[in-house]
């Protein structure tokens, strides 16, 4: 997961030419469908040995996928619930002094490799789903926090001053002007967090938290390339689709008129 995805530069929305609209919406699902279809055909054309057959049952794969999505979903919701309010607090005038250091600390936490975070947490705490979710929250925290802050800071000063000048209260300015206007940037942060989490959740298997990592990891340990391949393609497809759906959500939730 490269760090540059999280910069707000990735937020800039490229205008789409009218004719490209539909294609833009269909391209990604088509691509993923083709990839999954190819994987299916390939796997069914192979003679599976006993180990492979156990790992490649629909039940096992479905359960791993559901667990994966659960890890991603819960951790992302938690990240939003913690990072967005924190971002709002840190951009209020009274926090001007402390906010740079808090951002620095959280950024440092994120620069630790994800495996490191997981193993570190596992060393000190028990194994399992909860600790995996904590790790995911730590890891996806910074893009949401940073984008919330950037989103709020980039709101045009004059628009806020006009609001204050008309008699909106401070809270009114926040809820009616700042938050709506920073929604696009915040959503871009959430989208980044989701994609990071889909990738990082594949490591959760190391601490016994399940997910598609189970498929990849057993394939690696038992030296069954086809199992590893299946797990990897599924994880990749999931990341693409999550990103795709988040992209649509961004388009839908962006306030009109921006």
């Amino acid at each position: 997961m490269s760090a540059d995805v999280q910069t707000p530069a990735a937020v800039a929305d490229q205008p789409v030419a009218p004719g490209q609209g539909l294609w833009r919406y269909l391209a990604m699902p088509c691509f993923v469908a083709v990839a999954l279809g190819a994987l299916y055909l390939y796997v069914s054309s192979q003679e599976l040995d006993r180990i492979e057959a156990v790992r490649l049952t629909p039940e096992f794969i479905a359960a791993s996928t559901v667990r994966h999505l659960y890890l991603v979903g819960v951790s992302t919701v938690l990240v939003i619930l913690i990072a967005v309010p924190l971002g709002i607090l840190l951009t209020r005038p009274f926090a001007r002094r402390v906010s740079p250091s808090i951002v620095a600390v959280t950024s440092t936490a994120q620069s630790v490799p994800s495996i490191g975070v997981v193993v570190l947490l596992a060393l000190f705490f028990n194994l399992g789903v909860r600790i995996a979710i904590v790790a995911l929250v730590v890891y996806a925290f910074v893009p949401v926090l940073r984008n919330t802050m950037v989103g709020l800071q980039q709101v045009d000063e004059s628009v806020m001053e006009a609001g204050r000048g008309m008699g909106l209260t401070k809270r009114g300015v926040l809820t009616q002007i700042e938050l709506p206007l920073s929604v696009p940037v915040m959503l871009a942060g959430v989208r980044t967090a989701l994609v990071i989490n889909v990738g990082t959740a594949a490591i959760a298997t190391l601490i016994n938290a399940g997910g598609l990592g189970d498929v990849i990891y057993t394939g690696l340990v038992q030296n069954r390339t086809i199992v590893t391949l299946t797990g990897a393609v599924l994880t990749g497809s999931l990341a693409l689709m999550v990103d795709y759906i988040a992209g649509i959500a961004e388009d839908v939730l962006r306030p009109k008129g921006l």
């Binding site: 004059s158 628009v159 001053e161 006009a162 000048g165 008309m166 008699g167 206007l181 008129g257 921006l258």
Partner: protein, 393 residues
């Protein structure tokens, strides 16, 4: 004098970490129903002064009165709902429609939806935007000038007695600015708001202001008076420099064509015989006769040699009348047209285009003389008033 709408008492603002205050001991009274223009060099504290009035910036010391009530410590949010505010950068809410932008304060005040809707449409009409076309648009779907109008409409929405306007026509081209200024003055004739208007353009100040306050560093008042007095009796060198050269020319901006006796040029109708027209022209001391159509609208200037050409029809020869002004135009506008005109005269027409008279050099000179006399009398009167006020104390 009646109680001033806004009264500032020894208002001072010291920004933290700055040795000099941005506004120092400013005292001034802003009478009800007038446009008071604050004008001064960049950085002299105009915007700060404006923001002190609605307490976007809290004063370091001094007091603010609104309609006689001390609002220095009043709830700022409540205070601001009574004061319309047009900021320099307009500051429309990009994620809200024009309707919702204008409805901001009425909503805060809890008006009913029907009342708000009617008010928004009324205001859009007032500022010259067709409600059915623009009501549901977003700010980015408007031109700069249209946004500026919406900014003004939004400030007027809850019918506040006071408006603060910080360079409201700043960032637009001169032609549109001129139109917006004229429209705004027309609107102001009806609504009679008390307006504090900031600009750094002395010409705009002269045009818009009932009174002008020329501010120096730290918002210190160099002169606060009616524009004609400032132009004819600048208080000191600073004011003189600020007005710049051509004060007498600028004074022409204060005079409306309708207020002066117009010049009289010979006129004739398209259906009249040429010898008759020629005779009329010869009887006057002018070099051309103005031909009107059947409705009395000016068509062409004919000179003697045009009339001596028997071949062409009257409506094809001579000079087309291009230099036209309406009665509410300023003498400066008329002078400008006059200079462009090849016969040395601007034609005045009423709303329906009917000939009402002309403005030529004589008219301008007479008007300038009259203004000079009036300004001198004005200055003398205000000096007398001051000295007698001094005696009372």
């Amino acid at each position: 004098m009646t109680e001033a709408m806004i009264r500032l008492e020894q208002l001072t603002k010291r920004f933290p970490g700055q040795s000099e205050p941005a506004v120092e001991e400013l005292s001034m009274e802003i009478p009800e129903g007038e446009i008071v223009v604050l004008v001064g060099p960049s950085g002299c504290g105009k915007t700060t002064t404006m923001k002190l009035i609605n307490r976007i910036i809290e004063p370091s010391s001094g007091r603010i009165f609104l309609e006689g009530e001390d609002v220095t410590a009043a709830d700022p949010d409540q205070l601001r709902r009574r004061i319309g505010y047009v900021i320099q950068q307009i500051g429309l809410f990009p994620h809200r429609t024009i309707h919702d932008n204008i409805a901001t304060v009425p909503k805060l005040l809890g008006w009913s939806d029907d009342k708000i809707r009617a008010r928004v449409d009324e205001l859009l009409e007032t500022v010259g935007l067709d409600p059915s076309r623009y009501r549901d648009r977003y700010p980015k779907e408007l031109s700069g000038g249209q946004r500026q109008r919406v900014g003004v409409a939004r400030a007027l929405s809850a019918d506040p007695p006071v408006m603060l306007m910080d360079e409201p026509f700043g960032a637009i081209d001169p032609i549109t600015r001129d139109r917006l200024q004229n429209e705004f003055l027309r609107v102001q004739e009806d609504i009679r708001k008390t307006i504090v208007f900031v600009t750094h353009d002395i010409d705009e100040a002269i045009k818009m202001g009932d009174r002008i306050a020329i501010l120096g560093e730290r918002s210190v008042i160099a002169q606060y008076d009616r524009p004609e007095v400032i132009l004819s009796q600048p208080a000191d060198g600073f004011v003189e420099d600020f007005i710049g050269s051509g004060a007498s020319l600028k004074r022409l901006n204060l005079a409306r064509v309708r207020d002066y006796e117009l010049g009289d040029w010979p006129t004739g109708r398209v259906d009249e015989e040429r010898p008759t027209l020629l005779a009329k022209l010869r009887a006057s001391d002018k070099g051309a006769i103005l031909i009107l159509d059947a409705e009395g609208r000016p068509q062409r200037w004919l000179r003697p040699r045009d009339l001596q050409r028997p071949d062409a029809s009257l409506s094809d020869i001579g000079l087309v009348v291009e230099a036209k002004v309406e009665p509410q135009a300023t003498l400066a506008d008329a002078l400008n047209e006059l200079v462009r005109s090849r016969v040395g005269s601007a034609v005045v027409v009423d709303k329906s285009g009917v000939y009402a008279g002309t403005v030529d050099m004589d008219v301008i000179m007479t008007a300038a003389e009259a203004m000079r006399k009036a300004a001198r009398a004005d200055a003398r009167a205000s000096m007398d008033a001051e000295s007698s006020a001094g005696q009372v104390r």
